[in-house]
């Protein structure tokens, strides 16, 4: 077979990080949080996998996954409607004898039979709480070259405020991980794990079987950190652009950060498209007298009022005389005439009625939940 596909399959855990943004995941998963004007968080890792030749991807969902199922459908938009491989969504069994998984090991245990039947040599594991545009072929190549048991991606950065209680950092010696800390709280730049791993499929199966028989749950804490002498775990530094969603504040900030075109170009470089569900909206229409400054706007919007420093998702309506500044407005938000919004995050289908005034601050944006009318 020609070498257009990678010899790896993907596994994505879409609920990982749900606890960090309880407001946003009330009716969805971390992976289905809308981001960057027209995407959902999972689009980034999923498109990166597809662009890197990984065309057999399993998404192990846990709860609140209707929005994710609706978004992914049969995977066609990511070119994952395949006879061989393709997109495979695994919901938990609704059986009293099967308990809901907690750690990554339990999640993997639930697809053990599936993993055994696959043909790919490697498994790439990822979450969906980070938006990044990565060529996974680099990870696979580095892993194969080093002959490691496990290779993990990490970034050199400070630990985000939101995930002080949910992170892994590593210490490296000549590329090999010699220490893996859970819930590190040290200040300053650390080697922060991106929770992206590559393991040989057979090795992973053995690891999961062993851990399961001993009642172990967590991949990092229970398997990796305890066996760093035994296992050759390599760290691979990721130097590209990342957007971590670790809190409501960071959600707001990471959207805003894309208003800088240098950042936008890094997350969306030419030739590495991020795919998403198509909505067939018309182009955005700017009416006469509309005022717009420094904004990212998706299709299907109608702008009659004023917008400044905003990220607008698909189908947003800004009526005449409305003023919206420093806001993130998700799909189909309507801001009626004369309303004023500043530092506000609205979820899908929010309606702000005429002449209302909503105002948060840069450190504490106001959030309006899905479908609410103000």
């Amino acid at each position: 077979m020609v070498n257009s596909t990678s010899n790896a399959l993907g596994v994505i855990l879409p609920n990982a990080g749900d606890n960090l943004v309880p407001e946003l995941v009330e009716k969805r998963t971390m992976a289905s949080i809308p981001f960057a004007s027209r995407y959902r968080m999972i689009d980034f890792v999923l498109s990166s996998m597809v662009n890197g030749g990984i065309t057999n991807v399993t998404v192990i969902v846990k709860k609140n996954y209707h929005s994710l199922m609706d978004h992914l459908g049969n995977g066609r938009e990511w070119d994952l409607t395949r006879k061989l491989g393709g997109l495979n969504i695994v919901p938990p069994y609704a059986q009293s004898t099967v308990k809901m998984y907690n750690g990554r090991v339990e999640a993997l245990a639930s697809i053990l039979e599936f993993l055994k039947n696959q043909k790919e040599k490697y498994v790439v594991l990822s979450e969906a709480s980070t938006a990044f545009n990565y060529n996974f072929k680099e990870l696979i190549a580095a892993h194969v070259a080093s002959g490691a048991d496990v290779t993990m991606l990490y970034e050199r950065r400070e630990i985000p405020e939101g995930c002080k209680n949910d992170n892994h950092t590593i210490k490296l010696q000549d590329g090999r991980v010699v220490e893996l800390l859970t819930n590190d709280y040290r200040p300053g730049v650390q080697n922060l794990s991106m929770d992206v791993y590559i393991v040989e499929r057979e090795t992973l199966i053995t690891m999961v079987q062993d851990a399961t028989s001993r009642g172990l749950v967590y991949f990092e804490r229970d398997i990796l950190s305890r066996n760093l002498q035994l296992l050759n775990v390599q760290g691979l530094e990721y130097k590209g652009y990342t957007a971590h969603i670790t809190s409501m504040k960071s959600y707001f900030d990471e959207n805003m950060r894309l208003l800088d075109e240098a950042n936008l170009d890094q997350l969306f470089p030419v030739g590495k498209p991020i795919y998403t569900k198509v909505r067939d909206d018309a182009p955005t229409r700017y009416a006469m007298d509309a005022k717009v400054k420094n904004c990212m706007v998706a299709d299907g919007c109608v702008i009659e009022g004023e917008i400044e420093n905003c990220v607008l998702f698909r189908g947003v309506r800004i009526r005449k005389g409305a003023k919206v500044k420093n806001c993130v407005l998700m799909q189909d938000t309507v801001v009626e005439p004369g309303a004023t919004l500043e530092y506000v995050v609205t979820d899908k289908r929010v309606k702000v009625t005429a002449d209302k005034n909503l105002c948060g601050t840069d450190t504490f944006p106001v959030y309006v939940a899905k479908g609410q009318t103000v």
Binding site: A36, S37, R38, Y39, R76, L259, E261, L264, L267, F268, P273, I274, Y275, T276, V278, D280, A282, P283, T284, R285, Y286, A287, M288, D289, A290, V292, K293, N294, C295, M296, V297, A298, D299, G300, V302, V311, L312, F313
Partner: protein
């Protein structure tokens, strides 16, 4: 399993009146309205009307159209049985021939239509912009017990001589049909949308093919022949927006109509969506110094300059200090700093270099009769400081500082 109705889109014309825009592209694949191509309108109308079997008869520069249509998935026309098919002329045991006329294009595809054993066939044109429920027209056709139903609309009397003009009695039965009459007796113009009872059309197509003097054209041959033979032909009155975009001026007008709130063409209406194959780019970015007024902008655009009453397609760039006014920028085109584009159609991947001027406002003309929309063809580079006059058709790169009128 038979289909009740099959749609056939006539897309074989060269579109020579769109010259610079159809050098490498069939007319139905010409970009329209920010993210569409012309053929999206009849295709979306079909799907929204419940028609799931569509043939597109094509013979001029078909590659782009082929690639664009693909398996028909963006229009929900990837079907197990039916779906959309691009139909170029092909070699048969009896010989091979290009499509000689609109009727011949259907005649050569009789086998395609027969496969679905339809009761009716709707014939559509690949160069019209409108939203229409063909299902309602079919109901009308059945109700009247017609052999042929022709969609008509009232046009201004002074324009009537440009169209096929019908005269109909109070029941809508067509009594007279004249193709582009010098002295029109009616202002009911044919919109080039026909529903035929297939059995009847099949018979007339076969007879027409046997006539060596025929031009094999619906308007010139099939319709008059059916009328002369006493077949029941009725006019179906359509109200709403409809425009033939076969010329530069009408294509420009139709794009501008999207920006006019008083015109009945509404692509934002979710109840009758127009589908298209999308670019998949992130939302567009408007810079801090940009000025936007009455315009349409879509995914992947970057605007830092001034955009007034214009339609920007995906992935276009308007740099700081550049002005785009009353113009259409097709996908991937770039307007560099200080350049001005006015009353123009800029095709795919054109680069308008620094300080270049393309097109002129009508009010800035000494002689208004010489004014017209300027067109820059696909992939052209307009050099720095170059000047392109009104009504220009640019098909070759323009050197720095050069003037072209």
């Amino acid at each position: 399993m038979a289909k009740e109705i099959v749609a056939m889109i006539l897309a074989g014309g060269r579109g020579s009146r769109l010259y610079a825009l159809t050098q490498k592209t069939a007319k139905p694949a010409v970009s329209f309205g920010g993210k569409y191509r012309i053929v999206d309108f009849p295709l979306s109308n079909c799907v929204n009307s419940g028609i799931d079997t569509v043939g597109i008869a094509t013979q001029y520069q078909p590659q782009k159209l082929n690639e664009y249509i693909g398996n028909g998935q963006p229009w929900d026309l990837d079907r197990l049985y039916g779906g959309v098919h691009v139909l170029p002329p092909y070699q048969k045991a009896t010989g091979s021939d290009w499509y000689k006329g609109t009727a011949n294009a259907i005649y050569q595809n009789i086998n395609f239509i027969d496969r679905y054993e339809p009761n009716y066939v709707v014939i559509l044109s690949g160069d019209h912009i409108y939203k229409m429920d063909y299902g309602k027209m079919l109901d009308f056709h059945k109700e009247k017990g017609a052999d042929c139903t022709i969609a008509v609309m009232e046009v201004p009397w002074e324009e009537a001589s440009r169209f096929g003009i019908m005269t109909a009695d109070e029941n809508g039965t067509i009594t007279k049909f004249e193709e582009k009459p010098k002295e029109p007796k009616s202002n009911l113009a044919s919109m080039g949308i026909y529903i035929f009872t297939w059995e009847k059309l099949r018979k007339f197509l076969t007879e027409d093919e046997a006539d060596p003097n025929s031009e094999n054209d619906f308007g010139k041959n099939i319709i008059p022949n059916m009328l002369n033979a006493g077949e029941k032909m009725v006019a179906y009155a359509f109200e709403g927006y409809w425009k033939d975009v076969g010329t530069i001026d009408s294509l420009w007008d139709a794009n501008m109509d999207l920006l006019n709130p008083n015109v009945a063409l509404d692509v934002w209406d979710d109840s009758w969506k127009i589908y298209s194959r999308t670019s998949g780019l992130p939302g567009h970015k408007i810079g801090s110094k940009a000025v936007i007024d009455n315009s349409m902008i879509t995914e992947g655009c970057r605007v830092d300059g001034t955009v007034i009453q214009s339609v920007l397609f995906d992935n276009t760039r308007v740099a700081e200090g550049a002005t785009v006014e009353a113009s259409i920028l097709m996908p991937g085109s770039v307007v560099e700093p200080g350049a001005c584009v006015r009353y123009s159609i800029i095709a795919e991947n054109v680069v308008v270099k620094r300080g270049a001027m393309v097109g002129v406002r009508p009010e800035d003309m000494d002689d208004i009769t010489k004014w017209g929309v300027a067109v820059v063809g696909e992939g052209i580079t307009v050099g720095a400081g170059a000047k392109i006059g009104p009504k220009a058709m640019v098909v070759k790169d323009v050197k720095e500082g050069e003037e072209q009128w």
